[in-house]
């Protein structure tokens, strides 16, 4: 089977890759673009560790094909910090110890950023529902939710 040539934008940079049509966007990000932030947890859309945003929409990159990325704007965890300056979400995740093993963290950061862009003042319940597709086996979620709620408040005060 011939390979597809894909031109897309990742974290603001134009990139290209060749892929087999069976390869997922997650495979392409990790193996062709060396962006290993997005993780493969389950590979079936249940765990959210591979979350990225595509044209501003949160998706599981394991449930999208690499060929489908043609002409899209992809944002991954690698694009969240501004150079060495961490995003407020990242700072608060450290502050609140909202991560242990770290496998779920890139996906949760991408998902939480997408929440705060859509809804700058989420209730705790809204935040929990939004993140229901991001599984964490270490923290018990409470610290994650506190870090997200704290960031929401900081960003509201700053704006």
């Amino acid at each position: 089977m011939s390979k597809f040539h894909v031109s897309t934008t990742v974290n603001g940079d134009a990139v290209e890759y060749l892929c087999d049509p069976r390869e997922t966007l997650l495979d392409c990000l990790r193996d062709k673009l060396n962006l290993t932030g997005a993780k493969e947890g389950c590979g079936t859309g249940d765990c959210g560790a591979c979350s990225v945003s595509v044209d501003g929409r949160l998706v599981c990159s394991c449930l999208m094909l690499g060929v489908e990325a043609e002409g899209k704007q992809i944002d991954t965890v690698e694009g969240i910090a501004e150079g060495d300056v961490l995003h407020p979400l990242q700072k608060n995740f450290i502050e609140h110890a909202a991560l242990q093993c770290g496998v779920c963290t890139p996906g949760i950061l991408v998902a939480a950023k997408s929440l705060l862009e859509k809804n700058p003042s989420p209730t705790e319940e809204e935040a929990r529902y939004w993140l229901a597709g991001n599984l964490c086996r270490c923290t018990g979620y409470d610290k994650i939710i506190r870090a997200v709620m704290e960031t929401a408040e900081e960003l509201r005060e700053a704006s």
């Binding site: 089977m1 859309g45 929409r57 949160l58 394991c62 449930l63 060929v67 597709g133």
Partner: protein, 288 residues
């Protein structure tokens, strides 16, 4: 696996008609990719319909009916205030599917054509009287949503047929719909029972109703006896009990780890009552 992204439905249909082996259309991919990756179904031909013009549009027509493109996602439906205002049951059923991430991709058409008896949006579509438009080698046809599922994982679509649009009728005056499902936890699970109800009132009396059950038979059911049980009533206790009895009587479920036959049969009745009450309140313009 051959991947195609045709620019028209005619082309998509021709590709499917001429393909050999297993063919799948790719809408949101939330079923297709799971099946591909778990090696349940590896299509020989995959036809991505998302490059076709207008497939993500959600349009209210002049007569008040709605036309939804076959790639319009759950997230786009939930963010559409007028659609949610007219058909809250259809929108809430779609919104129950998966997580935020899944909502960013999943579609009504994919949910319907995947053929799962537990597909959440399907009872809501059937209750609402949704039809789908299909293009195939013999031209176009429009059929009721309940005409699509044939058995678990199978549809009545023939080789080369592709769904091109989802048509939701005009809501009209004094109507309301609702969808409820039972799952063992509060998020991210497959329905043990799902119930969609749509009805219309004249004053306090129900004049029209459609009731549909999911996950209690090999396909989603449209249950006429449930509708008959409440039409002409004010949804009093007698009508509600008759509705529950008709819903339970229509069940022909499986036994599995999520729910026994007995449990599914009883819960179908309970949920039918609750969904009917919500649809009734919505028809009266009350928040529910």
């Amino acid at each position: 696996m051959d991947y195609h992204s045709p620019a028209s439905f005619a082309e998509a249909s021709a590709l499917a008609a001429n393909a050999t082996g297993i063919t799948r259309f790719l809408a949101g991919g939330t079923d297709v990719l799971v099946q591909l990756r778990s090696e349940l179904v590896t299509p020989d031909t995959l036809i991505d319909i998302k490059k076709i013009d207008g497939v993500s549009d959600i349009t209210r027509n002049v007569d008040g009916s709605w036309t939804l493109g076959v790639a319009a996602t759950g997230a786009e439906m939930s963010e559409h205030p007028e659609l949610s205002g007219d058909w809250p049951g259809v929108v809430e059923a779609m919104d129950l599917i998966g997580s935020t991430q899944v909502q960013g991709r999943a579609t009504l058409t994919g949910n319907l054509c995947n053929g799962s008896p537990a597909a959440d949006s399907v009872p809501a579509m059937v209750a609402a009287g949704v039809t789908v438009t299909i293009t195939g080698p013999d031209g176009n046809r429009t059929i009721a949503a309940e005409g699509i599922p044939a058995s678990p994982g199978k549809t009545t679509l023939t080789k080369g047929e592709v769904v091109t649009a989802v048509n939701i009728p005009a809501r009209g005056e004094n109507g309301g719909d609702a969808y409820l499902r039972f799952i063992p936890r509060t998020e991210m699970d497959i329905a043990v029972v799902g119930v969609g109800v749509s009805l219309r009132l004249d004053g306090d009396t129900i004049t029209e109703a459609r009731v549909s059950l999911g996950a209690v038979a090999p396909t989603v059911l449209l249950v006429d006896d449930c509708a008959k049980a409440i039409i002409g009533s004010t949804l009093d206790d007698v009508a509600l009990d008759a509705l529950a009895a008709a819903a339970s009587a229509a069940c022909n479920p499986i036994d599995d780890k999520r729910g026994t036959i007995e449990f599914r049969t009883e819960v179908a009745g309970v949920l039918a009552k609750r969904a009917a009450k919500i649809a009734y309140a919505r028809a009266k313009g009350e928040q529910a």
